[in-house]
């Protein structure tokens, strides 16, 4: 890793006797300052905050203290990493000079820049990649605990409380991992090069969006040891107001993560709109760029709502307000609305970039032009537009507004039309292509298969009378795993293998990528087909034990889940060994025509010596144009 990332040897940056502040701040100072602030605030609050046990609603005082400590952690961490240096220096009227900005960009720092507030988009991309892998690893281990517990009908060897906490934890961190899995690593590393830019529009915001995620993770990890997120990832109120102190970790986590998403969304959107190379008109912009922009632009209206919903949840807990408390005049339905106004666009935030990434790969691995670029753009746009009008299909059975069932059923089923367009583009590109048998190519087939199943089961679920039976059952769990994992994660893993040469300078081990692909895909289909069947037979979601009649289906699912884990471990092994000692990659190993393959390995600090001028779309394969 280090050898590949290092710049050609040159003079070390600063030779001043006493290192300036910005050179002394890194992840260690951030963790230290964050922890110290949290502990200090915690102790002070314990000492001085009046005990209002008489008027308390549930854990009032403890909630205030733990939320205050988490806020202190957040501020301490962000100060410690150096996020405030830029604004502070500007306030003083002593803005950063050129050398300092180059230091910020990570010039000549080798591996150290990965542990600092570095603004270079390529560093941020690698940081995102590593963090995404770590989160997936934890989420995967939790999934295995869930499946092991459910392997046998009465075999619940995990306590119900712990089991519920594991389910909630698995849910929320997998959601976060899938949200960042493409726009984080590839959106940051690849996207600016792909549009012919030297960096993002706001490099410091780019660093900010990454370090916000790092700041958000400890609260959710700590929450596991302070009562856990026992409410599922959706944290419905009033259950959430009843849950232990772990919920405060969830609230802090969501608020910080939502900030990160908003910052990244503003940054990526601006970059793509303003910084495309000369000649890259919208018709010549690669489809992956559309996917990334659609994803982050959709998050822009969605995540402020999530942020707000959790602020209100925190106020209910800590200050006994009653946004969601019926006895005080609030309503749990308000929470459900806010949550799903975020929650449904959010699934397309995850899905669209994955499909777009595979659309980007389809022409490369079939040596044929992308079929119907306009339909692809329209499909992505149509899904985005409709996705903000469908949230209440998660609430058909809540009793909130029976008269709204029919309108939401209409908007939801209309999504099948733009979704069908994405299928048309992929299948039209593959048709009569010269298929280059690689893991990314097979991922396109896997996506077609998984997403077809996920999409059709989605139609059943969008139908109100059918949903009256299926809602809240394992069928729903299987359905969204088919879309988010079967389609989303498949696209992300293909992206990893596809862009690995550019990001690390080495080829991903071919054999390992094949083994991982088949283990994951077969295991996945076994696992979630089994889950569909038990859902249809009537097993509810999020249960830690079940009736004996569901044993067989659950055993199948558990076997499938272990197969997925084996595949993912092979993939992890492939990432580590290929990154350390893989075959050195040529500049353009896939003979692709997008701009990121025109820069050398490793990619120089500002990507291009001379900014490129684009004269055509990147899909002109074949004799017609050559």
């Amino acid at each position: 890793m280090t050898t590949m990332m290092e710049r050609p040897a040159s003079a070390p940056g600063h030779s001043a006797k006493r290192k300036p502040l910005i050179e002394r701040l890194n992840i260690v100072t951030a963790l230290a300052l964050g922890t110290v602030s949290a502990v200090v605030v915690w102790q002070l609050a314990l000492k001085f905050m009046p005990d209002n046990a008489d008027t308390a609603f549930f854990f009032n005082r403890e909630d205030k203290i733990s939320l205050l400590s988490l806020i202190a952690w957040f501020i301490g961490f962000m100060v410690g990493i150096g996020a405030l240096i830029g604004p502070f220096r500007w306030l003083l009227g002593k803005d950063l000079n050129h050398d300092e900005n180059m230091f910020y960009a990570g010039k000549d720092q080798g591996i150290k820049r990965y542990f600092r507030y570095t603004t270079d988009h390529k560093v941020v991309g690698i940081q995102y990649l590593v963090v995404t892998i770590i989160i997936f690893f934890v989420g995967g281990v939790l999934a295995m605990l869930i499946r092991t517990n459910l392997g046998h009908a009465q075999g619940g060897w995990i306590e119900p409380q712990t089991y519920n906490a594991i389910v909630g934890w698995h849910g929320i961190i997998m959601i976060v991992a899938t949200i960042i899995m493409i726009t984080g690593p590839f959106g940051n590393f690849v996207m600016p090069i792909m549009i012919g830019a030297r960096d993002m529009a706001f490099p410091r915001l780019n660093a900010l969006s990454f370090w916000l995620i790092v700041a958000a993770i400890p609260p959710v990890f700590i929450s596991f040891f302070t009562g856990g997120i026992t409410t599922g990832w959706s944290a419905y109120n009033p259950l959430a107001s009843q849950a232990g102190l772990g919920m405060n970790g969830y609230i802090a986590f969501i608020c910080i993560f939502a900030l990160s998403t908003m910052v990244a969304g503003a940054n990526i959107t601006t970059t793509v709109i303003r910084m495309r190379a000369k000649g890259m008109t919208w018709n010549r912009t690669p489809i992956f760029i559309y996917g990334v922009v659609a994803s982050v632009a959709l998050a822009l209206p969605a995540f402020p709502v999530f942020f707000l919903s959790q602020i209100m949840s925190g106020l209910d807990r800590a200050f006994a307000t009653s946004f969601y408390n019926t006895t005080g005049g609030g309503s749990g339905w308000l929470y459900e609305n806010l949550f799903w106004i975020m929650g449904h666009p959010e699934v397309y935030v995850i899905l669209i970039p994955a499909v777009a990434a595979l659309m980007e790969m389809a022409p490369v691995f079939t040596r044929a032009p992308l079929f119907s670029f306009n339909i692809a753009v329209m499909g992505i746009g149509g899904i985005c537009g409709l996705s903000i009008l469908v949230w209440a299909h998660h609430m058909y059975m809540s009793g909130w507004a029976p008269l709204l069932s029919a309108p939401f059923m209409i908007t939801t089923e209309l999504i099948s039309i733009p979704t069908g367009m994405l299928f048309l583009v992929l299948i039209g590109t593959i048709w009569r292509g010269n298929l280059w048998m690689t893991m990314p190519l097979m991922s396109i087939f896997a996506l077609l298969w998984n997403f077809m199943i996920g999409g059709i089961t989605g139609i059943y679920l969008s139908d109100v009378p059918a949903d009256a039976f299926l809602h809240g059952s394992m069928y729903v769990t299987a359905h969204f795993h088919y879309t988010l994992m079967g389609a989303g994660l498949t696209g992300a893993l293909a992206s990893l293998v596809f862009w690995f040469p550019k990001m690390t300078g080495r080829m991903f081990d071919k054999k390992l990528s094949w083994v991982a692909f088949w283990l994951v895909q077969i295991g996945f289909n076994v696992a979630f087909m089994g889950m569909f069947l038990v859902g249809l037979a009537g097993q509810p979601r999020r249960v830690e034990s079940y009736a004996a009649m569901f044993s067989r289906g659950n055993l199948i699912t558990t076997i499938g889940a272990y197969t997925i884990m084996a595949g993912m471990l092979v993939l992890l092994h492939g990432v580590i060994t290929s990154w350390r000692s893989g075959i050195k990659a040529p500049m353009n190993p896939w003979q692709s025509k997008t701009l990121e393959w025109t820069v050398p390995n490793p990619v120089p600090l500002e990507n291009f010596d001379v900014l490129p001028i684009v004269t055509g779309d990147p899909y002109h394969y074949g004799k017609a144009q050559s």
């Binding site: 419905y236 009256a468 249809l536 509810p540």
Partner: protein, 259 residues
């Protein structure tokens, strides 16, 4: 399919790969439709109400409507995969077939998906209308359902609020459930009757069904409600009208003091 625009090919439907797609499409439509609907219908078990029967038939109809689409995509994908494969570390030559777009295919695809979408919508809306109408049945008996962590309680409105933890219902008599909760959200799910509605604290929600089969069925909570959510389940005993009366009387006697 996509070469209908290519002028040099005389008849696009006479090409071998198109014929293969067509054949596969027919076979796969039948297989996907049959296997998909049968496996799902069988997993759902025997219905204990008209509502559940219509859920099962909805799933059958949707599966058959989706089968041609799934089969077409599968047929095209399989054929493409069977034709030209290239292994190795260097890319294959560019494909001979170079079609950037095809207005006719695009139009056809969009028209077909719109028709299928409208079909699914109309079928669903008809069933929804029927289910909603049953809430207004004046002859129906009323049961108040109360969820609390982690049990269900049933109050029989017309019978002096006899209370039970197992649900007893006379066969072939419409019943409207008025569902509420004492603490957090629960979801009242009578599995084999295909009905479900959330139990919200502070509000009453409604759902209705007419059980049409004598037997013992399951009530499960379908919304995570805390520690023992998995165990929040009980039984529905659907009995004949005479048995129901007998049960009511015996229960009313034992509950005489409290009711």
């Amino acid at each position: 399919m996509t070469d209908i625009q290519t002028p040099q090919s005389a008849k696009w439907w006479k090409k071998t790969d198109v014929k293969r797609v067509f054949l596969l499409w027919i076979i796969l439509t039948a297989v996907i439709g049959y296997v998909g609907s049968e496996v799902q219908a069988r997993s759902m078990g025997a219905p204990a109400s008209e509502v559940m029967a219509s859920v099962i038939s909805l799933i059958r109809i949707f599966t058959w409507a989706a089968a041609p689409v799934a089969a077409l995509v599968a047929a095209l994908a399989i054929t493409a995969l069977m034709e030209k494969r290239h292994y190795g570390d260097n890319p294959p030559p560019d494909a001979l077939h170079q079609v950037h777009t095809s207005p006719r295919v695009n139009g056809l695809w969009m028209a077909a998906s719109t028709v299928l979408c409208l079909f699914a919508l109309i079928v669903g809306l008809i069933v929804l209308q029927k289910d909603s109408a049953s809430l207004l049945d004046a002859k129906a008996m009323n049961v108040n359902v109360t969820g609390q962590q982690w049990v269900w309680n049933f109050d029989y409105v017309e019978s002096n609020r006899v209370r039970s933890a197992d649900l007893y219902l006379p066969v072939n008599k419409p019943v409207v459930f008025h569902v509420s909760s004492k603490d957090v959200k629960h979801s009242f799910w009578v599995v084999q009757m295909g009905i479900k509605i959330d139990a919200n604290p502070g509000y009453v929600t409604e759902t209705a069904v007419t059980p049409n089969k004598i037997g013992v069925f399951d009530v499960r909570c379908a919304e995570l409600c805390g520690l023992l959510h998995a165990y929040m389940q009980t039984k529905v005993h659907v009995v004949s009208q005479a048995d129901y009366e007998t049960w009511l009387k015996s229960t009313a006697v034992t509950q005489g003091a409290i009711s």
